[in-house]
Amino acid sequence: MTAEPLTTRSLVTGAHEDFPTKPAGRRRNRRWIGRVVLNLALTLGALTMVVPFIWMIATSLKSPAELAEFPPTFLPKVWEWSNYPEALQAAPFATYFRNSFIISASHTIITLIFAAMAGYSLARIRFRGRELVFLGFVAMLMIPTYTKIVPQFLLVKFMPLFGGNDILGQGGSGWLNTWWALIIPGGLSATAIFLFRQFYLSLPTELAEAARIDGLSEFRIFSRIYTPLIKPAIATVALLTFQESWNNFLWPLLVTTRDDLRVIQVGLAVFQQLDGTQWQYLMAGTTMATIPMVLLFLFCQKYFIQGFTNAGIK
């Protein structure tokens, strides 16, 4: 019995051949070969995932002359760093970037405050109609974006007393081409409320009882006792909200036409339609749109993964 002890991992995958009848050397050999094949296959798969990103960055640093070559070079022969300042000149990517940041940050703040309050209430406070409210939110989880987008657009367009509209919402453009339309409708999601409820439910009730005996108000029990305990969950919801908002395309496309209100994703699509042949600038813009999310993901992977496995968003 020279074989290593069975580990959980090897058992789960069944990769561990542990038949005592086979000669140990052959067994080790086969395992070694299996490992190499597995690593090679996974490397190939991982490369398939990463190569488009490298190709994006490589393209953003090439000269137009090099881009015209076929077959294309993979890495640039001359690294044209000036493509980036030139891209910022070619389209207002800096403005797009700022707009995306403002909207994503606003969505995150709104979600953290109001979804946490609602989640806490649904998890920890007894009140008449709570079950109904909760079921309502769960039903809303199922609604696809496209089944609400038309009336949402109409609500924005006919928002009373905004953008030249009268009290009945007629005559003007309402919230179209305003920050309101970009920030308010997407500010809160049933998913975030649902996640917060789950997180608060996982905490013990005794804490609240002890705090009440100490004379804390109900709101302080929520804000000072329970909420600090779900900090990792808050990070998860914040990151998911920020990412979702940063990557959102359809809604900003529908409600804005002004260049100074465009978000980065819409800005990219518009730039591609107008200057579709300037690939070095387009890829520079795409790199700028991508890098913040990639960095955020790399540094906060734990929270992202926790959130995605819990919510399965997207």
Binding site: G14, G45, P52, S121, G136, T147, F153, Q301
Partner: protein, 316 residues
């Protein structure tokens, strides 16, 4: 003041328990006060979700029976929109494309994701790196990703034709060819979506009881047998979860269509969502768009029920 009011209210962890009947006047008052607090806490969310989700859903259903172009008041036309949709070959094509797209980006990708998850569940030195790489496309914006693929698929200078020319295979005009456009779009969707499926499977694999594999090993089962006899059945609940969220995601494919093909060539890549978008925001037929989106929702419901049958089996 607050100290006296709650200890006599029994609390349970189960949220489905009805509120207990208060025994004294003081606790009745306390319950009313806590009820008010509960409502105040949840009110902003109820208002927001009500206004921006619940009302729009009902409005979509109502509008689907009307002819409405935003400028004039909606006119009630009964089921005319639905009749028109069923006679519309483009919407039929869009429905079929959505189903084909869903088939390749959901069940087919799930199978690959499951294999990757099983492989990554082993003690590999580069495990975290592999996982990060597979998950990277998931956190990136679909528009940005589609932009990169648009360039990869470029017939003249794109990476794909470049690689093929090195191997000696003639390149294609991927996105401009009605034969290749849908497979190209599917490739992008599958490539982007594999990470989340893999991740959920990895999480589920942590909960599989190792003694099952031990028992199978004693019975002489090989790795492939173990995979099909233990891993696949044990991952059934996770499979159901992945299937549902993936179907919902796949049915709402829009961003990459917008960037890559604009639904063309010859409607070969148009999707149900894309037709909703065109009806509402290019043709300003809000009633028609609503009817199309109601059908989209109904199909999603049907798919969810079928998915539930297929993966849950006897667990119901």
């Amino acid at each position: 003041m607050t100290a006296t009011r709650t200890p006599d209210v029994p609390r349970t962890l189960d949220p489905r328990q009805p509120p207990p009947i208060p025994r004294r006047a003081a606790s009745k008052r306390a319950a009313r006060k806590s009820g008010l607090f509960g409502w105040l806490m949840v009110a902003p969310a109820v208002f927001h979700i009500g206004l921006w989700t619940a009302i729009p859903v009902l409005a979509t259903i109502a509008l689907s029976f009307t002819d409405y172009d935003i400028f004039d008041a909606p006119a009630w036309i009964g089921l005319d929109n639905y009749v028109e949709i069923f006679q519309d070959p483009v919407f039929g094509q869009a429905t079929w494309n959505t189903i084909v797209y869903t088939f390749w980006t959901v069940p087919a990708s799930m199978a690959i994701a499951m294999v990757i998850a099983v492989a990554l569940n082993q003690n590999l030195r580069l495990r975290t790196w592999f996982r990060t790489a597979f998950f990277l496309p998931q956190v990136t914006a679909t528009v940005a990703i589609a932009m990169v693929w648009l360039w990869i698929f470029n017939p003249q200078q794109g990476l794909l034709n470049g690689i093929l020319s090195v191997v000696g295979i003639p390149g294609q005009a991927w996105l401009a060819d009605p034969e290749w456009a849908l497979p190209s779009v599917i490739l992008v969707g599958a490539w982007q979506g594999i990470g989340i499926k893999m991740l959920i499977y990895i999480a589920a694999l942590q909960n599989v009881d190792p003694s099952l594999y031990e028992a199978a090993a004693v019975d002489g089962a090989g790795p492939i047998r173990k995979f099909f006899a233990i891993t696949v059945p044990m991952l059934k609940p996770a499979t159901f979860f992945v299937l549902i969220i993936s179907i919902i995601g796949a049915f709402q494919v829009f961003d990459q269509i917008y960037v890559l093909t604009d639904g063309g060539p010859a409607n070969s890549t148009t999707m149900m969502t894309y037709e909703v978008y065109r009806s509402a925001f290019q043709n300003f037929e809000m009633g028609m768009a609503s009817a199309q989106s109601v059908l989209l929702f109904l199909m999603l419901l049907v798919m969810t029920v079928i998915g539930r049958r297929a993966t849950k089996g006897d667990e119901g």
